[in-house]
């Protein structure tokens, strides 16, 4: 049985090579398995106590004296994660698409390398840098902007509440959007540059102007754009440090982007240090981690499935 799973070796060197290197793959798999196991096991106490309510209630009540009086609900954090993730995607979509098109179509070939390196550098910047930039610059700026928006557009649910500070869901979403842009842009750029010459020429040959050609080619890589944005979303909901610095850390469920909020990651980051003092808090935070893990997995799986389907369709031409 085991023999069938193993490759055939033509020499002892091959066998040694295999034996030496295969454990590394196994280690990666084991780590993943242990992550899932730990998340699930540590979530059990709070799930036993609260049931699935832990995912839909919006409450965070630790108790110093009576563990049974502790109540935890992750709804606000899950809502905040998804909401800021969506804002991030809305911000990143035009930025990433435009920057990818500028790099691929408009700037001279020599400048292309420089600009794409700069974009990659943006991706490599430590997230804490974005966080302190967000605190020092973006949050005060956003406070003024959100005040203005609330003043003029308070009839829209997105700006219905007066912003008391710049530390809001909106600020976090925009910061996440900026942070995710280079990732989405890299995916889109890659797809755009891989469009075969014969399709590009086909677009020009029907008398399309450069702008029209770009429009046709962008519609051709729509699935990759979607994949780029899914990646941006996954990055955004997973981001921790920068978000905790600008989101205001408060349990709100409001459509208004002018109020402070929480995300699952920022909740874990800000509460974990004290969580050990309580009976169930740690477990509740692990349950939050489990949600993040599952959402990330589902988004990635859907994206990969969609891209595969598209690639197969394209390959047939």
């Amino acid at each position: 049985m085991l023999r069938r799973l193993l490759p055939e070796f033509r020499s002892n060197d091959d066998r040694r090579f295999f034996l030496l290197h295969s454990p590394t793959t196994l280690i990666v798999l084991l780590i993943l398995l242990s992550i899932i196991t730990v998340l699930m096991l540590y979530s059990v106490p709070v799930l036993r106590k609260e049931g699935l309510g832990v995912f839909i209630k919006n409450i965070w009540r630790p108790s110093d004296y009576d563990p049974e009086a502790e109540v935890y609900g992750l709804a606000a954090a899950i809502y905040g994660s998804v909401y800021t993730g969506l804002i991030a995607v809305i911000v990143a979509a035009p930025l990433a698409l435009a920057s990818a098109i500028v790099v691929e179509e408009l700037i001279p070939r020599r400048a292309k390398g420089l600009v794409s390196t700069l974009m990659d550098l943006m991706a490599a910047t430590p997230t804490i840098i974005y966080g302190i930039w967000g605190m020092a610059y973006l949050a005060p700026l956003m406070h003024r902007v959100l005040l203005l928006l609330h003043h003029h557009l308070s009839w829209l649910p997105f700006f219905s509440e007066p912003p008391t500070t710049g530390y809001t869901i909106g600020t976090a979403g925009i910061l996440l959007g900026i942070m995710a842009t280079p990732y989405a842009a890299a995916v889109i750029r890659e797809a755009y540059s891989m469009i075969p010459t014969h399709l590009r020429e086909a677009a020009y040959a029907i008398g399309a102007t450069r702008f029209e050609v770009v429009r046709i080619l962008v519609s051709l890589i729509k699935p990759s754009i979607l994949a780029g944005l899914a990646l941006a979303f996954a990055r955004a909901i997973g981001e921790t440090v920068a978000v905790s610095l600008v989101i205001g850390n408060s349990f709100n469920i409001s459509p208004s982007i002018t109020v402070p909020g929480y995300t699952v990651s920022s909740l874990i980051a800000s509460q974990f240090a004290n969580a050990g003092l309580y009976m169930y808090m740690e477990s509740a935070l692990f349950a939050g981690g489990l949600v993040l893990f599952i959402v990330g997995l589902v988004v990635n799986a859907l994206t990969i499935w969609y891209m595969k389907r598209w690639e197969e369709a394209i390959k047939r031409v």
Binding site: R200, A202, A205, I206, G207, T209, A313, R316, V317
Partner: protein
């Protein structure tokens, strides 16, 4: 006076350091098929790309000389205006894989606003597909993606897409090189019919002497970036004056 649809005069093209076309001159009378023939790497395709200014897309390309279409210098107008009136079909079938068969044909007319209603567009799409001899095979699946078509059908779809713009000139760059003989015959039939019935002027690049003889009225034989011989197809094919032409016709080049 004979009206020339295309006049190419002392055309030189450089791609980087390479001198690809070295003073090419020929004329195509309206409503005729001119075949540009010659071995691979002779610069036949480059001639077509200089005519519809696709060479502009190559930053390394440098063009000198004159190309006129119905008396208008193509280098004096915007390239997309030239391409709007000069259709092109490439060696590689290249329908857009992400839009339906119908939309592939309708894309050009929609882009240029040459139809006023959906009904007109439907008629134009049908006309173009009929002219490309593809209508009967796709009329029941117009809204499918072209990915399911065979290579030859894809090539005829590319032809229909070019025809939908009602071009006055059609450039065909070895359109049958990569497809099976049955489809190749259909494309040749389609070419003959669009010249006869629609009065479109065709320039066909081919490396197959037999094909040139079957469908062209005029023949331009090129070798290493230069025109070696040109004239009415029968004259050039049956009584070549140059030894190079003769050897090519015998399949020795």
């Amino acid at each position: 006076m004979v009206e020339y649809a295309v006049e190419v005069n002392d055309l030189h093209v450089w791609l980087g350091e390479r001198h690809i076309l070295q003073g090419v001159t020929f004329r195509c009378p309206e409503r005729t098929v001119t075949a540009i023939m010659g071995p691979s790497g002779t610069g036949k395709s480059t001639v077509l790309r200089a005519i519809n200014r696709l060479l502009d897309l190559n930053p390394e390309a440098k063009v000198r000389g004159r190309v006129k279409i119905f008396g208008v210098d193509v280098y004096s107008v915007e390239p997309y205006v030239v391409r709007r009136h000069v259709g092109m079909v490439f060696q590689e079938p290249n329908p857009f894989p992400h839009i339906s068969i119908y939309d592939n044909v309708a894309l050009g007319p929609k882009l240029h606003g040459i139809v006023r209603s959906k009904k007109e567009l439907d008629e134009l799409v049908k006309w173009a597909l009929e002219k490309a001899m593809l209508w009967d095979e796709v009329k029941n699946r117009l809204y499918d993606l072209p990915t399911k078509l065979s290579g030859g059908q894809k090539q005829r779809l590319s032809l229909a897409r070019a025809l939908a713009l009602k071009p006055r000139i059609l450039l065909l760059d070895e359109p049958t090189a990569n497809i099976d003989p049955v489809n190749a015959m259909k494309i040749e039939e389609a070419i003959k019919s669009i010249v006869r019935e629609e009065g479109i002027t065709v320039i066909l690049v081919t490396h197959m002497p037999a094909q040139a003889v079957r469908i062209s009225d005029f023949l331009v034989f090129m070798y290493k970036g230069k025109v070696v011989e040109q004239g009415p197809t029968r004259d050039v094919a049956l009584h070549p004056r140059s030894e190079l032409t003769e050897r090519f016709m015998r399949g020795e080049l």
